[in-house]
Symmetry: C2
């Protein structure tokens, strides 16, 4: 009987995060102050983030960053996550490929998001912060931050996009069980929210607005810091525990991946599993292929443009050098809420530019079909986001079937879909549609924005 | 840093289930044919269950029953489940007790139910069965059976109590993703269902009715067998993988439990974690205390009567010697749907009678309070059923705090509550009530039934 799952002992868990910036041939370009267009220094970010996180964000020299002991202790609550040989999926596809997945869905909050939430909450606590705030859409990140805050004795205030607050009550309840204060955004609790509600009292909210509210709360409240769940380089840094564990676990399985796949929203789960393997491509010339699976309706990697753009819709953030569809891009209302983001983090953007990775776009119906096949074969119902990684994996595995090659494929199962069952309901009822974007749509979205490059 | 979680390697997973019947001083009394009052033989159960399961049901001689290799392979999909030191909970309670829990919630379907579903589906497949059927209330068991059936290529038909079908759509969707046909019960697809709907077209269903429908389907359909998720002795047998693993994992932690706790519906999760430890009480005079935590609103262990009774409301099953509140007992509509059952399995009933274990009853509000405390401390939101075990654990841990004793407590976290968040919502909103039963209520329920003992 083939071994199915691989775990690391607590003694073998990573003691450091891997900072790929130190090894990159072309370093990411600097973040720019949107007014002065000058590069941002760590100190410029202090008003928003915990200081240590500001330094991690811009660190391009230290390859290894120590994981604080307290965070390592918290990691043992659910790590190592298992590396699993997807024998059921291999059989269902009748492929000679060896398929492995790293199962981040076993985290208490159901996704990889906790890896960074614990680190961010820790650094906030260490510098005497008492309150943390953030925005959340579907709620994966908000749930992770709420639990992390509860563990470190911090108060958490989460602005949840109003339509999700109402349509995804389970995620809201989870945050509340963990003790967080959850406010539907836009709200009357901030200037940003009030301004919008005055003009449009029935506005259903957007991630952009929720970010503005959370950032405003952090700026205006002594002892309060803002946190976020993807895009920023320090978030990807924390997520490298995934790939570092997977590297050791693949060794236990006596394999090395030919292909590494993850779904792609802002890039943190992709970076988390990829970067530790990618360093061997950069440093030792290994030839592993890295595939980021994005939704066809939000194709910043495959059809976006590399340029300086804002991280949020309203233009409050620094300017980021990234692949983007334009910060005014309004993604279609697909179920994979975590992938509905207009841009890619600065590290992955540079790596894509330099050819170390590639993007692939997945239509929504293909993603749910892949998710259902995986569920029947492996028993785990994947998050709509993770379904994109599975779909890309299936494509590669079927190529192997055609060519007869038994490549080793590793993908990241970033989360489970147990609180997204209504999306599966709609898929099974035939009510899921694909959204297509014309080149004109994209040109328009990129051009329409008051482009900071002009 | 204290080690938090313990896993077994696949080589160390149990190869046999433990059949406590072989070691019991007083064997369980026989199941009786309700018409002839004669003891049932395995052959008498063939029309309903797979043959091998009928023999396991009545086996009082073989201490160890081989786990088929195919089932062991399926177990490796999620087993061993972790044994976890609940350091967060210990800290929150400030108790000198050492608290451990066996985390069955990491199973793909979110509960321990899969341990028996895989075995039952396997034996059905082996004897050429093509279809399996069952009933489900809240849906934990139905989900497990649906997934197990999908793995073994069996068609599954699940009768789900109509009110749950409508109120718990997430569980229904999960079963459908796994490919099962889910029918709200009562339905027009069976005689039993038609009879009820003719008289009462708006009847919202009950577990009793759903059992009748599933049993009827199995009896009337060639190649179809009935399966069930608790109460029967063969189900508890399969669940002993939980306790057998826990025994080895407690050894890794260099501890042995003074107290073992599980919630109690029909007895399979309680038996699963308890029996392997209880054998040391029976055979070697160990003094471990075994506590079954039942809801105060359904107190068959603490306030029921030991007598022959039917396993279902309609009186279609054999007569079972058990602690019961009467088969016509209508439990209050608490959120822990899996504990709303009038009787206890025959093995646990005999063990309770003989003083090897004790029952404790937990009010609903106390259970949710315990669940929220646990969620904040350990990050896992427990199923409403499991909250009862946690509440009993907290009671014991607080006794330790008072006495200064550092007892070792082990409880079974039978499942997670991610698809039960609406119940937590109601708790946080202050809308959860306790149900009390007067002695008169219980006397009436026991007397009212057309008692098979008279």
């Amino acid at each position: 009987m083939k071994q199915k799952r691989y775990f690391l002992s607590e003694a073998d868990l990573p003691k450091q995060w891997y900072n790929i910036q130190a090894d990159m041939i072309h370093k990411p370009m600097p973040l720019l102050n949107p007014v002065t267009k000058q590069p941002m220094k760590a100190e410029d970010l202090y008003p928003i983030f915990a200081k240590e996180l500001c330094h991690q964000e811009l660190n391009q020299t230290d390859r290894w960053i120590e994981i604080p002991e307290k965070v390592r202790e918290m990691y043992t609550y659910y790590r190592s996550t298992p590396l699993v040989r997807a024998t059921g999926l291999e059989k269902a596809l009748d492929t000679p490929a060896h398929i492995y997945f790293k199962n981040e869905s076993v985290s208490p909050v159901g996704s990889h998001k906790l890896n960074s939430a614990l680190a961010q909450a820790y650094y906030c606590k260490m510098e005497g912060v008492t309150n943390v705030t953030t925005e959340t859409g579907a709620g994966q990140w908000g749930t992770a931050l709420s639990y992390a805050a509860s563990l470190f004795g911090l108060e958490a205030a989460v602005y949840q996009v109003k339509i999700s607050y109402e349509q995804k009550p389970y995620r809201r309840s989870m945050m509340q069980v963990f003790g967080a204060q959850v406010t539907p955004s836009p709200s009357m609790s901030t200037r940003a929210g009030k301004d919008i509600l005055t003009v449009n009292p029935n506005y259903q909210g957007s991630l952009g607005t929720a970010i503005s509210e959370a950032v405003e709360l952090a700026r205006m409240t002594p002892g309060c810091k803002y946190t976020l769940g993807s895009v920023m380089s320090h978030v990807s840094l924390h997520q490298t525990v995934i790939g570092l564990e997977a590297e050791k676990q693949m060794e236990m399985a006596e394999e090395y991946p030919d292909i590494v796949i993850a779904c792609f929203g802002g890039g943190s789960n992709f970076g988390g599993i990829s970067f530790p393997f990618m360093r061997h491509n950069i440093l030792e010339g290994k030839k592993t292929k890295f595939i980021a699976a994005e939704p066809a309706s939000c194709p910043k990697l495959t059809r976006g443009k590399f340029e300086y753009d804002f991280g949020d819709e309203s233009g409050y953030t620094p300017l980021l050098p990234m692949f983007t569809l334009g910060h005014k891009f309004a993604p279609a209302n697909i179920h994979a809420g975590g992938l509905r983001y207009h841009g890619a983090g600065v590290i992955v953007s540079q790596l894509l530019k330099d050819g170390y990775m590639e993007g692939v776009d997945i239509p929504q119906t293909e993603s749910f079909g892949a998710g259902c096949l995986f569920a029947k074969a492996e028993g785990i119902i994947p998050a709509p986001e993770s379904c994109h990684a599975i779909a890309a994996t299936i494509r590669e595995a079927l190529k192997c079937k055609e060519s007869g090659e038994s490549k080793t494929i590793l993908f990241n199962l970033s989360g489970h879909g147990l609180v997204d069952m209504s999306a599966y309901d709609q898929y099974l009822a035939g009510n899921i549609t694909d959204f297509t974007l014309s080149d004109e749509d994209i040109r328009k979205s990129l051009g329409e924005a008051d482009s900071p490059n002009q």
